[in-house]
Symmetry: C3
Subunit: 465 residues, 3 copies
C-alpha cells in the first residue's frame, strides 16, 4: 500500500472505506484461527486458537502504545529508520489509517502461530508476539511505507533508493515475508514436533510422519475467510478512494487478487496430482494443495496487486503454486516442521511477490497507483522499451534482503535466548498429552472429573479447556 | 441486476461498492462449502469442499479467459446471443463490474456441487464446471443482462421482448435457476446415492434412507454465511450507487431480502411442524426446514428484490417456504437424490421468483430501478389500473423457458455422454469407502499408517485427506 | 447511535454505508449461533442454533409489522413512550435505517438464546422472542433513540432529561443491557440445567459441575465473527457519513472498539491466570476467559464508542474484563446457570458501559458526534473544568434503572406465567436425552433407524436433527 496522500486525506468516503477494509482484515484472524484449529490435533486446538486471539488483543494494545508510533510517527524531525512521535495515538487525527494498520500488524504476527503449533510454550509465544508487533514489524513498515522510510517508494520522498524505492503495494514483504521468515527462524530453533521426523528412540524416520489435522472442514473455512479478508487487505491498501482513478485501482486490486489466488490453487492441485500420478499411478486430488496453493497465490499478488496487469497476476499465481509445492517439499527435506505450511506460503511467496513486481510492474498501473509518471518500471517493460532499466528490480531485492536480515538479527538471537533459558519448547510430556491439557487447566479438570460422578464422563475432545 | 448505465459509470463510490459487494458474494463460496461439508457424511467432506474451492478458482480463470467475453463483450458489433470481444479482460475498463460478475458465475456453478455430493467423479465435475461457467452461464447472462441480449429489459435496448424484456434484478433466473436446473439434470443422469432409495439387492425401499450429515453446526454456519453474502448479491446488483435514488434502491433490496428470507424460514418450519404433528402427534421443529426455507426465500426474492414492495417480498417468501416443502417431497417421490436440496431451493424458487416479478413488480420500484417510466408492470398492478397488461409476466415465462431449454440442450447431452463413457459416476466401491479415500489419497495414507507404529493410529475422521 | 439528522438524510453514501453495516450486524447472528453451538453439549446443538435462526427470521417479520413502528414511528403526534405510525413499513422512506435497526433488534433478542440453552421449551422461546422484539425492545429504543423519547439525548429534543438525556451511542443499554437483564430474569425462573449445581438426589454440589461445550473451535469462531460484526454495530451507529467529521467518527468508533475488546480479553485472561496460579500453583491460560473478556470489552465500549477518547476505551475494556470475572463468579455463587455467560458479558458490561460514558465522555468527541457544543460532559471532564456537573452521569443511571425496571415489569411476570403454566422448562427426561431428540424429531429418527439395516448405524452425533 502506498501512503502518497494519506496525511492530506480529507475525504470521508476514504475513511469509511478504510474502516471497513480494516474490519475485513481483522476477520482474517478468524481465518488463521480456523486453519490452525483444523490443522492441529485435537489435543492442541484450544492452545492454537488462544494464540490467534492473543495476537488480535495484544497487537491492539501494543500498536496503540508504541507500534504505530514506531511505524508512522514521523513528526517534525523524521529519520529513515523509526518513528518517534504519536505514542498512545497522541496527535493522531487519521483514526481510519491507524485502524487499518493495526489490522495489518495483527495479521503479520498471527502468521507465525500456525507454524509453532503443538510444541511452543505460551509465555514464549507472548514474548515473541510483543517483540514482533511492537518493534520488528513497525520498523519494516516504517522503512517501506512511511514517506521518510529509507526504502520507501512514496513520492513525498525526494531521494528514494535507486531513484525508485521498494514497491510493496499491500504488504507482501512488510506483512507476509516478515511473518513467514520469522516463522522459519522460530521453527529452526524450536525443532519439529515429537514423532514428526524421528521415532521415539530418536532415529530418523525414512518418511516424515504426517499428523492429520482434526478437521479439514475448519481448514477450508479458514482458507475461504482468508481469501474473503484479502479483498480488504489488497483493495483497502489503495487507502484513498475519492476519485475515479482510485476507484479503478481498488477494483484492479480485487481482480488481480482473484486471478492469482485462483491460478495458485489450480496449479498446486494439478501439478501435485501429476507428480503423484507418476509415482503412485493414481490421481490424487489433494484439497490441502488446492487450499495452500490459493493462499500462496494470494500472498504472491499482495506486493503487486495495484501495479501489475491481470495477465501478470495470473502468471504470478501460477508460479506461486509451483513455489509452494517446491517450498513445502524443501522444508520436509530440511526436516523443518511447519504445522500449517506457513513458511512456503508466506515467506517463499512473499519474496516471490516482491521479485515479480520488479519484473512485471506495468507503467500504466504504476502511474495509476502513484498519480505521477513513475520513472522506473518492471524490468520486462523496460526491456520492451529498449532500456533494460533494472532499478526497480534491484530495489525489490534490497527490500527482501533488508527484511530477511532485520528479522534475522532481531528474532534469531531472541529465539536462541528463549531456547537457552528453556522457555521456548514445551515439556515432552506436555507435548504428548497435548497443550490444551498442560497450559489450559486440562489436568485439573481431568482430576476433578475423576472425583465426581457426573453423567458426562466420556472422552469428550473439548473437555480440557 | 440491471446494467442500465454501467458502461458510463464514472463514479468512484460505485466501484468501491461493487468490489465490496463482490467480496460478499465471493464469501458465499464459504457458505456453500460449509453447507456441503455439514450435509454429507464424514467420508466425503474433503471431496465436497474441494469442488467448492475448484469452482471459485476455476471460475476465476474461465471467466477471465472467455466467460466475461461471452457474457458482456459486445464490442461494436453486438448480437443478441453471445458476446464476442473482451477476452482475457482486453479492453475492459470497468474492473469492478468484472469482479462482481465473476463472483456471480462462481456462485452459479457451485450450486450444483451439493446436489452431486458423495457419488460424482472428480474429473466429471471439473468438466461440468468448465462448461457451465465458461459457456452455459455466460450465454444466459448475456441474453438477460447485456444491453444487447435478446431477452434483456435494459433500457438501452430499443426493442425488448414484448416491449418489456425479462426483469431479473439480481439473478434469480440467471444464477439460481441455471444452477438449480443443471443440478436436476445432473442428478437424473447420475442417479441416487447407494442405499438412498434401494437396498443392497436393488429392491426399492418403502421410505428413502436419510443420510445424516456429519455436522449440523457447519450447515447452520453455511446458511448464515449465505444469507450474509446475499446482501452483497442483491443490494450489490444495484450496480450504481451515486445518487439518492440508487442508495434507496440498495436499501430496498436489503429490506426485501430480509423479509423474504425470514418469511421463507418461518413458513417452512411451521408448515412442516403442522404436517408432522398431524401424522405423528408430536410437534417437530426441524432446523433443516428452517434453514432451507430461509434460503428458499432468499432465492425467490433475488429476481425481484429491487422491483417489488416489502409486503410483496413477505408474500414471496411465504410461498417460497411452501414451494420448498413441496419441491423437496416431490423429489423424494420421484426418487431423485439431492444431498442438500439444492433443486427445490434454487431451481423451484428461482422459477417462482421470476414469475412473482410478473405478478407483483410495482410501478414505483420499477421506475426507481430503471430511472424511467417503465411501461409494463406486474400483472396485479396493471389489473388494478384496469388494463390487465400481462406482457411483463409473459416475458418472465419466456425467460424461464429459455433458461430451462438452454440448460437442457447443452447440459443434458453432456451429462449423458459423460455417463455413457463411464466418467460420471464413482465406482460403487469408491462410494462405499467414501470419496475422500478414493480420490484424495486416503488409500495410500491408510496403508502407510498400517506400516508404521505411530502414536496416532486411531480412526481419526479427517485422516483420509 | 444517534439519530440527529437521520430523517433528513439525503446522502446516498450514508444509505449504502448503513446497509453494509446492517449486513455486518446481521452476520453477528452467525457468531451467536456458533458460540451457542460450541458451548452446549452435542445433544442440544440443533436446538440452540434453531433459536438463533428463529430470532433472525422472527425479528424480521415482527420488526416489519410493528417493532419499527413502536420504536421510531413517531408521525405527527409523537409521545415519549412509544411510536404509533409506520406499521408494515407504511410511509417509511429510509429503508436503510429500517434495515440497520432490524439487525439490532434481532441481536438484542438472540443474546438470551445462549443463557437458556439446553433446558428451555421451543414454544416458550418463541413466545419470549416475539414479546421482546415486538414490544419490550422497541419501547426502550424509542425512549433512548427516538427524537421524541423521554430519555433521548437527540438534539432535536428541546427538553431532554436533566438537560442532557441518556447517551447510548451504539446500544450498550438499548441492545445489550436489554438482552442481558432479560437473560438474567429468564434463568432465575427457569432454573439451572440438571446436574449443574445439584446431584441427582437434589443435594447441592460443593462445586458447580461444568458442562464442557462440544467444540471450542466453533466458540472461537463465533467470538471472532461477533468482533468482526461489532465494527458494523459500532461504526455503523454513526448513521450519517457524508462529511469529513462523520467519517472521522466512524473511524473513532472502530478504534475504540478495538482497544476495548483487546484490553478486555487480555485483562480477563491474565487476572484469571494470576488468581488460579495463587490457588493451584499452576498458570492456566483459559481460552474461554480471553474470549468472553474480549466480548465484555466490546459490550462495554458500545455505549460510548463515539464519545470517549481511545485511552478511555482502553480503561473501559480493562474494567470490563474484571467485571466479567466478578460477574461470572457471582452468578455461580448465586447458583444461576448461564450456559454461555451472557449475563456477565451483556448485562453487567452493558451497565458498566453506560456508567463509563457518564464519567469519561469527552467534550471533543461529544461535539463531534452531536455536531453542536454539548453542554453536559463526562464527570471527570467537568471536574477538571472545576464544575463537577454530574447531569450526564445522572441521566445514564436513570437510563439503566429504566431499562432494568421496564424489562423486569414486563418480562418477569411473563416468565413466571410461562413457568406456572408448565410451558417454560423442558421435561426432565427431554433434558437428559437432549433437546435435539425431544423437539427435533430425534426420537422418530432413532426408532426408524433401529428398524432398518443400513450401513449407517452408528452413534452419529448429528443424527438426531
Amino acid at each position: 500500500e502506498y501512503q502518497m496522500k494519506y496525511s492530506k486525506d480529507s475525504q470521508y468516503t476514504s475513511q469509511v472505506f478504510l474502516v471497513y477494509s480494516a474490519a475485513l482484515v481483522f476477520f482474517m484472524q478468524a481465518g488463521f484461527a480456523m486453519i490452525c484449529a483444523g490443522a492441529v490435533r485435537k489435543k492442541n486446538v484450544g492452545n492454537s486458537m488462544l494464540k490467534n486471539l492473543l495476537d488480535a488483543c495484544g497487537a491492539a494494545i501494543a500498536y496503540f502504545c508504541f507500534g504505530y508510533a514506531f511505524a508512522f510517527g514521523d513528526g517534525s524531525n523524521p529519520n529513515g529508520f523509526i518513528g518517534t512521535t504519536n505514542f498512545f495515538l497522541m496527535g493522531v487525527d487519521n483514526y481510519a489509517f491507524w485502524m487499518f494498520e493495526y489490522a495489518f500488524s495483527a495479521a503479520s504476527c498471527t502468521i507465525v502461530a500456525g507454524t509453532l503449533a503443538e510444541r511452543c510454550q505460551m509465555a514464549a509465544y507472548l514474548c515473541y508476539s510483543l517483540v514482533l508487533t511492537g518493534f520488528v514489524y513497525p520498523v519494516v513498515s516504517h522503512a517501506i511505507w512511511s514517506p521518510h522510510g529509507f526504502l520507501t517508494s512514496n513520492i513525498q520522498n525526494e531521494n528514494p533508493l535507486f531513484g525508485s524505492g521498494v514497491v510493496d503495494f499491500a504488504g507482501g514483504g512488510v506483512v507476509h515475508l516478515v511473518g513467514g521468515c520469522t516463522a522459519l527462524f522460530a521453527t529452526m530453533i524450536l525443532g519439529p514436533r515429537r514423532g514428526r521426523f524421528h521415532d521415539n528412540e530418536g532415529r530418523k524416520l525414512d518418511k516424515p510422519n504426517n499428523f492429520p489435522g482434526h478437521s479439514i472442514a475448519l481448514q477450508m473455512l479458514g482458507s475461504f475467510i482468508l481469501w474473503f479478508g484479502w479483498y480488504g487487505f489488497n483493495s483497502g491498501s489503495a487507502l484513498i478512494t475519492s476519485s475515479h482513478e482510485r476507484g479503478k485501482l481498488v477494483a484492479l486490486c480485487a481482480v488481480n487478487t482473484t486471478l492469482s489466488g485462483g491460478a495458485g490453487g489450480l496449479t498446486a492441485l494439478f501439478v501435485n496430482l501429476l507428480i503423484l500420478e507418476r509415482r503412485l499411478g493414481e490421481p490424487i486430488f489433494d484439497l490441502k494443495m488446492a487450499m495452500n496453493g490459493s493462499l500462496s497465490g494470494l500472498v504472491a499478488i499482495t506486493a503487486g496487486c495495484g501495479v501489475v496487469e491481470p495477465w501478470a497476476a495470473l502468471l504470478i499465481g501460477i508460479f506461486a503454486g509451483l513455489l509452494y509445492l517446491g517450498g513445502s517439499n524443501l522444508l520436509l527435506k530440511l526436516r523443518l516442521d511447519d504445522a500449517v505450511d506457513a513458511i512456503p506460503i508466506h515467506m517463499v511467496n512473499g519474496m516471490w511477490g516482491l521479485i515479480a513486481v520488479g519484473f512485471v510492474a506495468s507503467p500504466r498501473n504504476l502511474n495509476l497507483t502513484y498519480g505521477i509518471e513513475v520513472p522506473h518500471v518492471g524490468w520486462f517493460y523496460s526491456l520492451a522499451r529498449g532500456s533494460g532499466d533494472a532499478r526497480l528490480l534491484a530495489a525489490q531485492l534490497v527490500g527482501i534482503l533488508f527484511i530477511l536480515g532485520w528479522c534475522l538479527i532481531i528474532m534469531m538471537p531472541f529465539f536462541v535466548w528463549l531456547d537457552w533459558k528453556g522457555w521456548f519448547r514445551s515439556d515432552p510430556l506436555e507435548e504428548i498429552v497435548g497443550l490444551d491439557t498442560s497450559y489450559h487447566g486440562g489436568l485439573i479438570l481431568m482430576s476433578e472429573k475423576r472425583d465426581k460422578a457426573t453423567s458426562n464422563i466420556q472422552s469428550s475432545p473439548t473437555r480440557r479447556r
